[in-house]
Symmetry: C2
Subunit: 428 residues, 2 copies
């Protein structure tokens, strides 16, 4: 029957979702996915984005990206945050929560979705693998492709991870700038400046601050990594030595720095007069230590979300790579690959050359790549030449967004909802 033939040959729709903490360039990956899918209309129908990530699939709350203009989609490339919404929501194992997986497949079936693009970290790669498994099990085979993303740069296999390099550039630039400020005032004012950066388990962002300086005289004078157990006495001795020799001391501390017992420094604290847990993080804590010990005047900054949303100072390399993995994900799907993700492969560091490779989702799922010991100097407070060789090319190039009235003109999606086809709501 002709109708059946048409039905069978009609291209399947795609579902795209952002997952976990967003970055300055995750929308560049979305841009890569959508623009590339639009070039493969014979294979891929519409791209539906999950509103608030995977929750959008569970609640059948889909955004029809075909309603967005080409200009709006292009503008995603220079827009930080998650344009369709992201979610911190990890699907439990299939055994423990089969209902959620079944629901996903029902929603995908109802909307003729044959492709699942999941843009996230190692948890999300695990979820994408499970969705692929359950689809096959339930007789609804899906093409499941991961798209790597994380500011933490802690995914294995891929040389680096989109999102990281822009946070790295922000932190390196900010450290260099703040250090000039501190240096110029140190004689009569602040002696110790502390910048707290992200990285709960891996110190990649903290390491990137090391790019701000070239010689031992340059800031940052100390970096505190989650990979190195915090030694209060050694830390204080080094701060004192630096202040005495340089006149001031700039410290970059990862939020995830821990003591010898593996306890987060920010938690070893302290309760306020009302018994509330200490409000400050690792930054204010180590800053105050130096005053307690030596009476140094200190200042501290906590970059928090600013560092992962600072699209205004994004790395051009990062933007290119984020776009490239989005584009490659669609091309892998079109080529018939499944349960894989595109990764960044470094061909050479100087000059920096990279290409897109491919890895199975299982190679990424639930694994963490920490800063290796040989990237951290012997004393534990700095980065090595090997680390510098790895990091330096990643922050290369500026990719400025357009400005209107002095402010970046960021994209806003219309976010038109796809009409629901299932009758029942889903309770998480």
């Amino acid at each position: 029957m002709a109708a059946t033939k048409i039905g069978r040959s009609r291209p399947k729709n795609a579902f795209y979702a952002q997952s976990g903490g967003v970055t300055a360039v995750i929308n560049a990956s979305a841009c890569g996915v959508i623009e590339t899918a639009r070039k493969h209309k014979r294979t891929i129908g519409k791209v539906f984005a999950g509103r608030d990530g995977i929750l959008g699939a569970l609640h059948e709350d889909l955004i029809d990206t075909s309603k967005e203009s080409a200009a709006a989609i292009r503008a995603l490339r220079h827009t930080p945050g998650g344009a369709f919404g992201s979610a911190r929501y990890k699907l439990a194992g299939i055994d423990r929560n089969r209902a959620e997986y079944t629901r996903l497949i029902e929603v995908f079936k109802a909307h003729d979705i044959g492709y699942f693009f999941y843009n996230g970290g190692n948890d999300s790669m695990d979820t994408a693998q499970k969705v692929s498994d359950i689809g096959r099990l339930l007789g609804y085979p899906l093409t499941c492709i991961g798209i790597p993303k994380t500011v933490d740069n802690d995914l294995p296999i891929t040389d680096c991870c989109p999102g990281f390099a822009s946070a790295a550039k922000y932190v390196a630039v900010s450290t260099r700038e703040a250090a000039l400020d501190v240096a110029s005032m140190a004689r009569t004012s602040t002696k110790v400046f502390v910048l707290e950066v992200m990285g709960r388990h891996a110190g990649w962002i903290a390491a990137a601050a090391g790019l701000a300086g070239r010689t031992a005289a340059d800031a940052p004078h100390l970096i505190l990594f989650p990979e190195i157990a915090f030694d209060r006495d050694k830390f204080l001795a080094r701060v004192k030595e630096t202040v005495e020799r340089r006149g001031y001391c700039v410290i970059v501390v990862s939020e995830g720095v821990r003591d010898a017992d593996g306890k987060f420094l920010a938690e070893t604290g302290t309760r306020d007069a009302f018994g509330h847990a200490q409000l400050g993080g690792a930054g204010p804590l180590v800053a105050a230590m130096t005053r307690s010990a030596f009476g140094y005047k200190f200042h501290w900054a906590v970059a928090d979300y600013l560092q992962r949303s600072a699209r205004h100072i994004a790395s051009a390399v990062d933007v290119q790579q984020a776009y490239a993995v989005g584009k490659a994900a669609v091309e892998l799907a079109v080529a018939g690959r499944n349960a894989v993700l595109p990764i960044i492969v470094r061909k050479s560091s100087s000059p920096y050359r990279w290409t897109i490779g491919e890895a199975p989702l299982t190679a990424i799922a639930n694994q963490e790549k920490k800063v290796p010991r040989h990237f951290i100097s012997t004393d534990g407070f700095g980065i090595t030449a090997a680390c510098r060789r790895y990091l330096a090319p990643l922050i290369g190039g500026e990719d400025y967004p357009p400005y209107r009235d002095g402010l970046p003109a960021y994209a806003q999606m219309k976010g038109v909802a796809v009409r629901k086809r299932l009758n029942q709501a889903f309770v998480l």
Copy 2:
């Protein structure tokens, strides 16, 4: 006698010093001073900069800027911090500390300095006035010209103050970016985000965050000004209302926010388990309040020095104005003016047109311009259209520094010391 004639007609040297907290563009003023002085060699000899500001004069520690290349001086225009060092050092009244003023005059005399350019805030304008007075009193007349500078924008008379607009742009851009991050994750993650900004007595920087949003739906949803007494209940009610209506709430708080008794919020706190004063500032404090009251997940950032050193996102208008006041200071001196400073005069807001005017140092000295009540919305949590008309033009245009290897290439001075001519050290 010919020798005497030459001596009398020889141009006097100039002394330039940076004072107080540095900014992203104070070196652009230095650039304006030095480049302009180099064009008036018949009137002004060498420009000596004080190492660490006025301390350089007291200690006879002068930097010979004639040893710096034209390229190095030009690079000051795009370099944050204080290239010659600044100082938080206020000269006491002449009655109480005549020795310091006498010493200044001795040093100036020893180095044939006839011009004193002081680049600072209201305290510094007061000092410049006193130096002018004492010079006359001691029979060593000096041309004393102020150059306005402060991130706080709290100087009277001048329409705005170089240094402010770049901090304002940084805060407006960062607020817009972080808000996109928070909005995209709010459903399953952070509901309340707080950004703490500078402004101990005046809320200009906090007000600038208001430029990030256009409608009531846009972030920032609340701004806490030092000019408005903090009302905990009203604050919490507004946060709750915002989270319930918008899904999240972005708050920008000035470090100087106070309670009804005029006490800094950051001090009303709390001591940790060891009896140390609460480490956090106003930002972490109000963030924690929202959790105590409603259980909201929160994040906070403290921009601290990052906001006043962020030359990478400086306002082009600010850079132009900073350069212009440096240039004008020298031109005023050459024209024979004394005890004055160049100021920014607004001719129109839309289109934005400004020019350089002139005011007596006494008009600026020791006065503070706060955010007027009609610039703050009736409820006390936002900015008015009048405030927006005032602020918007100031953050106009981007003035990116050059980059090398992914990082801004900032100027470094050789800092060649002028040979000392006085025999005695000076004890502060």
